[in-house]
Symmetry: C2
Amino acid sequence: MERDFFDEAKTFKAFCDEKRLRILALLLDGEKCVCALNEEMDLPQSTLSYHMKILCESGVVEGRQEGKWTHYSISVQGIGGAAETLKRYVPKGVIQLGDEGCCASL
Amino acid sequence: MERDFFDEAKTFKAFCDEKRLRILALLLDGEKCVCALNEEMDLPQSTLSYHMKILCESGVVEGRQEGKWTHYSISVQGIGGAAETLKRYVPKGVIQLGDEGCCASL
DNA sequence: TTGTCAAATCAAATTGTCTTGATTTGAGGA
DNA sequence: TCCTCAAATCAAGACAATTTGATTTGACAA
């Protein structure tokens, strides 16, 4: 089985930028609309939009349209997928909690 | 407590590049010296060296000097730290396995 | 339909990352 | 010491990501 390194890299694009991490941290409080993020991030609207797109494409953030507004929230599944991917970079044979299945979902 | 987003981003720099993921995948087999990686990656020596530096700075890879040779290996602790960081981006209140401590080390 | 507003997209400039040959460093061995 | 070799560093150019004002889109109200 060939790994899709391109896709895996894409997932982590979300986390390798300071501003995007800050946005994610704001979304920890729950779903927020762009205008709210805009105020808290102090960035031009287009810049924020750019980062939101990358966050969505990486799968860790989801957007929800409601009339004129777009609400963004963290995708728990998306983060879980990233964690799952990360785990695959731990060499086999390393004794580690969770290998028996208790953390299979993370 | 202020998060050090810069440092967190640095950690994930390791995983957001296709070539670095490929290098990590090669290191899953165990410690390897640069010359071995060089053959398998088919990259100029200086290019590989550049990526190894980023991998080390992100904390997920460790280098070990042995005479003229440098051996690199995956740092299980480093990957664990990254996973730990990732987990902090899961919103509170989301029901999830591992919250009771069984996966505290991951 | 026309206007308004939130948000996405565009395009051009800036900034940052990556690539690579050349050079340097540093550990042996002759 | 001097040479050789592995690997790091340097420096310049190529390439990719980011920034931003301007423009477009699409939803709703008048």
